[in-house]
Symmetry: C2
Amino acid sequence: MRKLKKLVLLGTGLIGGSFSLALKRAKCVEHVVGVGRNPDNLARALELNVIDEASNDAASAVIDADLVLLSAPVGQMAVLLQQIAPHLPAHCIVSDAGSTKQDVCALYQQYLPQHLSRCVPGHPIAGSELSGAAAAQYGLYEGRRVVLTPLAESAPESIELLRSLWQACGAQVFEMSAAEHDGVFSAVSHVPHLLAFSYMNAVLDRHNAALCFDFAATGFRDFTRIAASHPEMWRDIALANKDAILLDLKANVAQLLALIDCIEHHDALGLNEQIVRASAARNQWGHRSRS
Amino acid sequence: MRKLKKLVLLGTGLIGGSFSLALKRAKCVEHVVGVGRNPDNLARALELNVIDEASNDAASAVIDADLVLLSAPVGQMAVLLQQIAPHLPAHCIVSDAGSTKQDVCALYQQYLPQHLSRCVPGHPIAGSELSGAAAAQYGLYEGRRVVLTPLAESAPESIELLRSLWQACGAQVFEMSAAEHDGVFSAVSHVPHLLAFSYMNAVLDRHNAALCFDFAATGFRDFTRIAASHPEMWRDIALANKDAILLDLKANVAQLLALIDCIEHHDALGLNEQIVRASAARNQWGHRSRS
């Protein structure tokens, strides 16, 4: 594999920082520049050797880059792409770590129309409720999955480079269409987060919310863990993957209304059927994934 | 504390068996009789010294009892109370370990109207995915919470006995009304289970459910862990605590509709407000409970 001379992270948090650490350990990169808006975070990233150089100017940072990873929240990507577009060297590969892909693919089309053969949208599946460069870990991507959703224009060698870099981080790499990606992750990631947020708000609205939280135990703890996630990021994801998420949220409302109907009519059989179906599927998933 | 001569467990599984073991270790009881429908389970309970005597006849077992604990599923309690009613000695305290309390309180009123000063409904918060006498543990209640929901008729000395016994098991004892109990546990336990079941069913209804489950990761794992729970038990709880659960389920539907509205209208501010509120509350809860 070709060794990268210069990697530029546009967004120097957990995701970009862990990519940098893993590539450094695998000796796949010589120099890493971290770009960000928060000087304290960048200083910490330098101190922890997550990056070799800090910058607050995306445009000048990419001038001699071999690879640019957009690892900022999806909401900032349009501005970042606009800033770097006039300065990108022709050979430079551009990828991202956005949790939604159709919207990011559209941004590449809009802002880098001359550069699409070098663009490879991606999504490393390694969320955490932690954030910031200080949370970056060498092993974050070990055994994790990375989904690439190449554009029609992405060159095979661009895709191959991304694939080999993520593999060097210890990840398994998959390819699917951006639309398929957004449907799957709406279902198994975005919607559970939104359900957990709205559940927490329903408890907060209760007259005895404090007493409820006092008696919340391990089931509550696990069910709501994702509700502690980064608000700005999830707001952006909800808006970016709007169509897929709305379909799934409405399907969840329909399921809840069916459950309410069973309980209101004391329909033990119908209730049993719904619970058995869900419980069997979760047990099967657990056995397969040993979770 | 008065030492019990004879404790009768109506239902000899994890909950009743662990109560027996803890009281034996604390030297609070001389003789424990386990009543149950499953002879193999009772034989195992004897063998493991969880109980000293086995019986399949609740009526004759309680004739000289000092304390009866109903530790069978809530669905069996009506029959058990009916069976023991004519045979209970006047001094014998009766309690239970049911996860719902208003329905159990009504059963005491219905079947033991002459005996209410000796009845003290309770709920030890110590679920587990394990069951049966073989799963009973000495330390199950160490540091756990037990909620007592006394009847208006419960005598102070009856409540005091239950309190001291659960404390001898290592538990912290709380008192609240049955209605308050059912509201709190609907909010923090029953409804999360039902949300997890209905979420699983929404994923199962997707055309690409198998692919979705393939890419489900740690967020999904934690969020859905409670969906693997025992279907019959959760069906019974959903019906037993119907009123409180319906209120909370409808509040969750309302929250989801508000979220859908924000997303449909691309209301970033409104969405942000909802997510920030939920995330802040979960973080605060996590810091307090170190979870």
